[in-house]
């Protein structure tokens, strides 16, 4: 082969590799394009559109009309249902999320004891969260908490000669049917807890046992601090999904009775899609985003006080 080019071969190679790299990148983006197109067209664009729509009156049929801050004014000062939905959502987040985490941690600790068939139990306990959002579970939950002659729990109560309770229709009990449903769907935080528990060095427990620490002491002094990053992660994730709760209420109670289960996302949906107030719905969505951001930031702020990272930072060291 005759060298006809004066360019040194090393730099030529660099040009070549550059071209190949660019080509590779192009191919890479090409493969990514279904996702990218989907993201820009069906995620980013609607998000930006909803930000604009939040300041309009838009009913899908007629072009949106700019109304400035009116949606927010109405939401905060005129809409009683809005505040009931806020109340129901906070009630849910502050009960269902801790309850789910406690159950998840308790089950994870049971499964961490290395008994036989652990993998079977793990799968069995995880199953409810896979089914969680499904229509079938909601329908089943209606059956469990159903009225007289219909519900499983009322059937048991009545066979024991006790009076029945209209769980789903009583304003005091209805939200608890959804909270118990949330607690029952502890699967994914449980798996994360389980992974976290396996990371805790056994020596710590052995040393503590030798020093005479009891079960409770070992739990509060070793397990909880060592697990705190995982607890923090689970808490943030579960809190966010708690604020967004929709399916369960939509299917099990429909927001009734007396708006006690009218969760924020459900009310947003009803406003946007039942009476076609897309502008109001968008405004509600952006307020929700703000609220979630604030609570997440607060959690992060608080984390330095109670989350322990082995590699420097946090308390002790």
């Amino acid at each position: 082969m005759v060298q006809t080019n004066s360019v040194p071969s090393a730099s030529r190679r660099r040009i070549k590799t550059g071209r190949i790299q660019r080509q590779n990148n192009l191919i890479g983006y090409l493969f990514l394009s279904p996702w990218l197109v989907g993201f820009f067209l069906f995620t980013l664009l609607p998000i930006l559109a909803s930000l604009v729509l939040a300041f309009t009156d838009y009913d899908l049929f007629t072009p949106p009309q700019w109304i400035g801050l009116n949606n927010f004014k109405r939401m905060f000062f005129e809409d009683g249902r809005y505040w009931r939905s806020v109340r129901a959502t906070f009630y849910y987040v502050f009960t269902a999320v801790p309850l789910r985490l406690v159950v998840a941690l308790a089950v994870a600790m049971l499964l961490n004891q290395g008994r036989r068939l652990v993998s079977v139990y793990r799968a069995a306990y995880y199953a409810p969260s896979i089914l969680g959002g499904s229509v079938a579970v909601a329908v089943m939950w209606r059956q469990v908490w159903g009225g007289r002659n219909l519900g499983l729990i009322n059937f048991i109560l009545q066979s024991l000669g006790l009076p029945y309770v209209n769980w789903l229709a009583n304003p005091r009990t209805a939200i608890w049917t959804l909270i118990t449903l949330a607690a029952w769907q502890f699967g994914s935080p449980m798996l994360i807890f389980l992974a976290g528990l396996k990371q805790i060095p056994v020596e710590l427990y052995e040393a503590a046992a030798i020093d005479g620490a009891g079960g409770w002491g070992r739990f509060t002094r070793i397990t909880l601090p060592m697990l705190s990053p995982v607890i923090f992660f689970n808490l943030v994730m579960q809190m966010i999904s708690g604020f967004l709760v929709f399916t369960q209420a939509y299917l099990v109670t429909g927001g009734r009775p007396l708006d006690t289960t009218l969760f924020y996302a459900l009310y947003l949906y009803l406003r946007a899609f039942e009476v076609h107030e897309m502008g109001y719905g968008s405004a509600m969505a952006w307020v929700l985003l703000g609220v979630i951001a604030i609570f997440t930031a607060l959690l992060f702020r608080s984390s330095s006080a109670w989350v322990y990272y082995e590699s420097g930072g946090g308390i002790g060291g």
Binding site: F61, T62, G146, L150, N166, A169, P257, V275
Partner: protein, 469 residues
């Protein structure tokens, strides 16, 4: 852009094919009873006559050979309605081989979400099923086209339809919806249980005071509820108690409530609370606890109640769930004043949309739906009692007891009813969902606030929303 359009059409076509497959399955299923065998023969005879008539009409309106037409039709409803409607579409296509109909159907909620999206996207079907409460808003938004030209040209033949019946589909003097059937609210009464209690069937002009006493009497003698099911202060009931006083709940322009006297609602609510206290009717809490139950589990079917209010066309479903050995009677809603509480309501409409590419063929289909006896023999009053008198007459021979009861009740209603009120104002859905139930109906019937407080809150908030509409 055209690509997406093509793929959507393909998608619809596939949908149509699959659904047609389902329809075939439905047809082979043993639905028709033995009596209908003879009917089928009659139908074919009538149908040939019908076909000739229709063909003549086509010849004079459009010069042959017609271009192939592919139009879209959409409706809401369950599987039974779909099977019947698809069979009628098939009949229509057999008559006009150049017309292909693509159809879409869904349950009530999904239907409106879907059609709302299509309206925003400018691709509504040619013909869509419409609803009395929503049609005003759709017309106001310019989404539907008037049909009067097709009536004048004879494509839509309403010579056997009462003018009063068509009035329900008119907005601003123009026809935007052809009623597919008529129905009315009614009180379903389980006659077998009533007789067991040794009680008499109420007179057609009975009052709410009679109703209250009957509930106590039933509860005393059978220990079951006198009334259960839909709330006694359902938004329809709220309308009926004002109609019976000669009032309408909305003002003429729809910008405010149309009555000044809240006492009508308040009295009615106190009656309900008395009945709750006596245990003589199903309470709201009991009803909410059973929300979402199937018709098979409903109080009427499982003999937990003697009365329940409903739309007259529901009796067919209720009776078939309850079983042939049961006996039901439809009587008018009790009166609160000196006028009938009931009116004739178009159960639903077919309308032609602004996006229709083939409005004339759409009108032809609507005409077929309205006037063809064979088509209605398949539909079997699924959308209410047919509006054309010759169709009603033609169907008389082969009605089930439930359908016969519905036809008889509607004949009685047509003879003695209040005028059909205008369609609801466009903002009514908002008022109902966000004020009437959550601020008035539910808190009063849960005992959280008094009827007076509820009525005052409702008046204030409802007027605010209506005024902005």
């Amino acid at each position: 852009m055209s690509d997406t359009k093509l793929s959507r059409r393909d998608f619809l076509r596939i949908g149509a094919l699959t659904a047609a497959g389902a329809a075939l399955v439905g047809c082979t299923a043993p639905t028709p009873q033995v009596i209908k065998e003879t009917v089928v023969v009659e139908k074919t005879v009538e149908r040939t006559v019908e076909v000739e008539k229709e063909v003549e009409k086509v010849v004079e309106v459009t010069p042959p050979p017609p271009e192939p037409v592919e139009m879209r039709i959409a409706w809401w409803g369950g599987d039974a309605r779909a099977t019947k409607t698809i069979a009628v579409i098939q009949m229509f296509q057999d008559m006009y081989p150049y017309i292909t109909i693509l159809y879409e159907f869904a349950g009530w909620d999904d239907y409106w979400t879907r059609l709302g999206t299509q309206a925003a996207g400018g691709n509504l079907p040619d013909v869509m099923q419409h609803d009395y409460e929503r049609i005003t808003k759709w017309v106001a938004d310019g989404l539907l086209v008037p049909l009067d030209a097709y009536v004048d040209s004879g494509v839509l033949d309403f010579s056997n339809v009462a003018e009063a019946t068509l009035k329900g589909g008119k907005i601003g003097g123009k026809l935007y919806g052809v009623p597919l059937g008529i129905n009315s609210l009614d009180m379903d009464i389980a006659v077998d249980l009533l007789e067991e209690a040794g009680l008499e069937l109420p007179a057609p002009d009975w009052t709410w005071a009679d109703f209250e006493q009957l509930c106590y009497a039933i509860h005393d003698s059978l220990g079951i509820w006198g009334y259960a099911g839909n709330s006694l202060f359902h938004d329809h009931m709220w309308k009926q108690i004002h109609i019976s006083k000669g009032l309408w709940v909305f003002s003429e322009d729809g910008k405010s409530l149309g009555y000044d006297d809240d006492q009508i609602s308040i009295d009615h609510l106190y009656m309900i609370l008395r009945l709750y206290k006596a245990g003589a009717v199903q309470t709201l809490e009991e009803a909410v606890a059973r929300q979402g139950e199937s018709v098979e589990q409903s109080p009427m079917v499982v003999r937990e109640t003697v009365m329940g209010f409903s739309w007259s066309n529901f009796i067919v479903t209720t009776w078939s769930a309850a079983g042939k050995d049961r006996r039901f009677k439809l009587v008018p809603i009790p009166r609160s004043g000196d006028k009938p509480a009931i009116y004739v309501k178009p159960s639903m409409f077919f309308s032609i949309t602004k996006d229709a590419r083939y409005p004339k063929e759409g009108a032809m289909f609507i005409d077929f739906f309205t006037n063809s006896i064979p088509a209605n023999a398949i539909l079997m009053a699924d959308r209410g009692v047919p509006i054309a008198s010759h169709v009603k007459e033609g169907m008389k021979g082969f009605l089930s007891p439930a359908q016969a009861e519905m036809f008889a009740y509607m004949a009685q209603v047509e003879a003695d009813c209040s005028p059909t009120p205008p369609p609801d104002p466009a903002r009514w859905a908002d008022v109902r969902n966000n004020v009437f139930y959550p601020e008035f109906h539910d808190p009063v019937l849960y005992g959280l606030i008094t009827p007076e407080e509820g009525a005052a809150t409702f008046r204030k908030k409802a007027n605010e929303i209506l005024a902005s509409g």
